[in-house]
């Protein structure tokens, strides 16, 4: 029933390399940049009062539309009733802070450019007249030791897994990473327990290998992370790293102050991580305000995989963003999402019965859907891994801000289209 493509035909087992070869198609379609400024019409949502129509309604009415009294035998209009469409503007008094990542030589670092995230004044893609101040950016992951990865992810990075600097270079040059995240997994006391000095050397090598801003990932142990982050912060003085992450566990372990002041003294930004709980997010931010300017704080509210609780992440991000835009300054920070967490879902990496498709496509689409869903909830920076997911986000992020590009004739005939 479907025209067969001679190249892909019926093969269910399209591999990742082929998929990557397809991805440039998405890039080819990136064209036609023009934007239409819409006039703004202000409308405040005031106090609304209960309305009950005074006219007697007929029995069985359940819809408000009928309350106005539809005539029993309506007279069909002889021509289309012309209605205007006036886009409403909704008032959002708050604004998300802007946080700069990476610093150029002029700014005291060594990056070729910096990246600014945040700055939103509306919920994501809510008002065509107010597109995001800064488009969302993408960071690709690098690990400082070989890690267990799903097969579909591993085959793209197998050659560089033992060389973090080379891995970072490939992420920038081949996959177009805006930012690189180096996960210092080897520092975990439960694994290799690598020293802070070793971690510093690794970060140095990445700083030399690539010139994009860096995110520094720890091992999750509040004491060890504090030691490692402080050493890295000092070595990379002025680079405006993003330290991933500081937590309430650190506050409990009394190591939060050490990391936060190191970040402040050496000009870095902090990623405040909390587990799907806005009260905790606010509390952690309040503690951080004691040590560091709010313009150096980014939030990670937790990303759960599609199928394993993505809806909780989606809703916590929507709630945080709305609260911030309505004036809660303790939540008015840009957010990041580890879209790679999508691979925690079995549906992303497991071989399944043929009716659920090949995992070579199911996996990357899982990561893509995870990221796109949270992009719509306002996330400003994504940690990603699969090249097809990265390319899709890179294609769609600018497209989502280009209003006025719909051409009705493109789809007017969809009912008749022969597929």
């Amino acid at each position: 029933m479907v025209q067969k493509n001679p190249e892909t035909g019926n093969h269910p087992g399209l591999d990742a390399e082929q998929l990557f070869a397809l991805a440039p198609h998405l890039r080819e379609l990136l064209k036609g940049v023009h934007q239409i400024e819409l006039e703004n019409f202000a409308m405040e949502i005031g106090d609304l009062e209960l309305f009950i129509p005074t006219t007697a309604a007929s029995p069985g009415i359940t819809q408000p539309g009928q309350a106005g009294g539809i005539p029993v035998a309506p007279v069909k209009p002889s021509a289309l009733i012309q209605e205007a469409y006036i886009p409403a503007e909704y008032s959002f008094p708050g604004k998300i802070r802007e946080v700069q990542l990476g610093a150029t030589r002029a700014e005291g670092g060594s990056r070729s450019h910096s990246v600014t995230i945040g700055g939103s004044t509306t919920p994501a893609y809510f008002d065509p007249a107010r597109p995001p101040a800064h488009p969302a950016v993408i960071s690709l992951d690098v690990f400082d030791m070989p890690v267990q990865l799903p097969k579909v992810l591993k085959e793209n990075v197998a050659d560089v897994m033992n060389d973090p600097a080379e891995w970072a270079r490939m992420n920038v040059n081949k996959f177009g990473a805006d930012v690189i995240t180096i996960h210092l997994m080897s520092t975990d006391p439960l694994f290799a327990n690598a020293s802070a000095a070793t971690a510093v050397k690794t970060v140095e090598s990445i700083l030399q290998a690539v010139d994009v801003p860096l995110i520094i990932g720890g091992c999750g142990d509040p004491k060890k992370d504090a030691e490692v982050f402080s050493a890295v912060a000092e070595m990379a003085d002025g680079e405006r790293l993003l330290i991933n992450s500081v937590t309430l566990d650190m506050a409990q372990a009394k190591t939060l102050e050490r990391v936060a002041t190191a970040a402040r003294d050496h000009g870095h930004a902090l990623l405040a991580f909390t587990g799907l709980d806005l009260n905790n997010a606010k509390e952690l931010n309040r503690r951080l305000y004691e040590y560091i300017p709010p313009e150096q704080i980014v939030m990670d509210l937790t990303t759960v995989a599609l199928g394993y609780g993505l809806e909780y992440s989606f809703t916590i991000h929507e709630r945080a963003r709305y609260a911030a835009l309505m004036g809660d300054t303790e939540l008015a920070h840009p957010t990041i999402s580890a879209a790679t967490n999508a691979w925690a879902a079995r549906e992303a990496w497991m071989k399944m019965a043929p009716e659920y498709g090949t995992r070579e496509l199911r996996g990357p689409v899982w990561e893509t859907v995870n990221a796109l869903t949270l992009l719509l909830a306002g996330v400003d920076l994504f940690l990603m891994m699969h090249p097809a997911a990265v390319l899709t986000l890179r294609d769609l992020i600018p497209k989502l801000s280009r209003n006025g590009t719909a051409h009705p004739e493109q789809i007017a005939d969809w009912v008749w289209v022969r597929i």
Binding site: E7, Y308, T315, Q410, I411, V415
Partner: protein
């Protein structure tokens, strides 16, 4: 009424979040009759405004005595996005019925049905095979079966007889609700005659055909989609006009542009739903139809790229207020994310999804195998399950009833206590499963270990904080030193 337009009524309504139980209680019988199984009318009113119970649960309201109160309550509680029914009888599906823009304000109702297309030029065996495939496609997700929900029949031939034949074949082969897609009223008329009694969704009224489509919708008492791609003024004009014809069961298609125009698509869906839920704009107070299938209408791209684009477009439209989707691809990797995401966003965000308490067996445990315990919050449970399975562990896992709270919350809220663990051990007769009395509790419940040893008489081992640490934990700590 004469003239061309409805009188504009400036309505001020309360949103569902602003309606207090008192607003509802004032209109209830106040007899505390208990037929709704609540203790009293106030308790019912509270659960009603929370969306946990329906007006239909209050039986006295449906008697003559309370007719006026029933009407007032119906108006008070009517969703700003109308509920539209497609299909008939027990196979009918409701779409729309939304109260809010965002799910944290009020649980979304009526999960977005996904319709898959067939067309009238398909050879009959292929048509039947596709219809069978649509009807049988399912996935078992956290113990629930998720499926496809409707069939969209497209008239590619443009020929009334050909369309009618295909519709008849499909109507005989499947009970799923139908969407008839033809922009030529003559073709639509033939299709509707072939689907008599099925009350399909008519797709669609446009600027060019609205008069004839309005007649068909009225004659067949069928819901009608309104198609005005990329033009919200035209969409409003069509809705107003069709309202004036006496048609209220409308579905809005502002156009799905998956590539260039994606920004407009997201903006239009958002503007329509925001107007309906935040400003109570009745003209936009109808269910939204997203058509990811439109990706197939453009471009010389390879099939896999089109499927990829259809998948991501569908997922974005599920997040962005689509009440009904029409898709083409039947590939599992395209559909599975949609079915799961739809299930997820239509759960009650205030109520965690739970699994049945009890004992689960993994691998081939024997008398010496470890016994673990966790909570019945679905996400906790499935995370632990997935970690146990990934490591091929042989063990027993007790699922304690914590009211659907995660370990951390259940410990803090005193739902997961020494007594609760003792009860779970006893009620599941765990002592009979193994020849030891050592229980591994979650690391996040470490503080319970002492009192649990006292309450149960079992030796307690504190496991890892995250179940991903289980394999290593068991390697190092199991069997326990005695």
């Amino acid at each position: 009424m004469s003239g061309n337009s409805q009188p504009a009524i400036e309505k001020k309504r309360k949103s569902i979040r602003e309606i207090s139980p008192i607003d509802v209680y004032k209109l209830l019988p106040k007899t505390n009759c208990g037929k709704c199984r609540e203790a009293n009318c106030m308790a019912y009113a509270t659960r009603l405004v929370n969306g946990e119970l329906l007006l239909a649960d209050c039986l006295p309201l449906f008697t003559a005595e309370y007719q006026s109160a029933h009407e007032k309550l119906s108006i008070l509680l009517a969703p700003p996005v109308r509920t539209v029914t497609i299909g008939s009888g027990e196979n009918a599906i409701d779409i729309g019925g939304k109260y809010v823009l965002q799910r944290h304000d009020f649980t979304y109702h009526n999960p977005t049905p996904i319709a898959i297309d067939v067309n009238d030029l398909m050879p009959e065996p292929e048509l039947l095979e596709r219809v069978r495939h649509i009807g049988q496609y399912s996935y078992n997700y956290i113990g629930r079966t998720v499926t496809l929900n409707a069939i969209a029949v497209r008239s590619v031939s443009g020929n009334p007889e050909t369309f009618a034949y295909a519709v008849r074949v499909i109507a005989n082969a499947s009970h799923l609700p139908l969407i008839l897609c033809a922009l030529d009223p003559e073709v639509m008329s033939a299709g509707l005659a072939a689907a008599a009694g099925r009350r399909p969704l008519i797709y669609a009224a446009t600027e060019a055909n609205w008069e004839a489509m309005a007649d068909l919708a009225l004659a067949h008492n069928a819901p009608l989609a309104v198609f005005a791609p990329g033009n919200l003024a035209l969409l409003r004009s069509l809705v107003k006009t069709l309202n004036a014809c006496g048609i209220r069961n409308l579905v809005l298609d502002p156009g799905t542009f998956a590539d260039e125009g994606l920004a407009d698509t997201i903006a239009n869906f958002t503007a329509i739903r925001a107007a309906a839920t935040k400003r109570f704009d009745e003209t936009f107070g109808y269910p939204l139809l997203g058509v990811p299938l439109t990706v197939w209408a453009g471009g010389e791209l390879s099939e896999d790229v089109l499927k990829w684009r259809e998948a991501i477009t569908a997922s974005m439209l599920l997040s962005r207020y689509s009440d009904l989707l029409i898709m083409h691809s039947l590939d599992g990797w395209v559909l599975l994310p949609q079915l799961i995401w739809r299930f997820n966003i239509y759960t009650d965000p205030r109520k965690p999804v739970t699994v049945e308490p009890g004992v689960r067996t993994f691998g081939r445990p024997d008398q010496r195998s470890p016994v673990l315990i966790t909570t019945n919050y679905a996400l906790t449970y499935f995370t632990v399950e997935s970690d146990i399975k990934a490591a091929n562990l042989d063990c027993y896992l007790i699922v304690a009833d914590t009211g659907g709270l995660s370990v951390e919350s259940a410990v803090a809220g005193r739902y997961f206590t020494a007594e609760a663990i003792a009860t779970a051990l006893k009620s599941n007769n765990v002592a009979a499963l193994v020849g030891h009395t050592t229980l591994i509790i979650p690391g996040l419940a470490a503080r319970l270990s002492g009192e649990t040893e006292e309450a149960t008489g079992w030796k307690i081992l504190v496991g890892p904080k995250d179940s991903s640490g289980l394999p290593q934990f068991l390697r190092e700590r199991w069997p326990p030193e005695s």
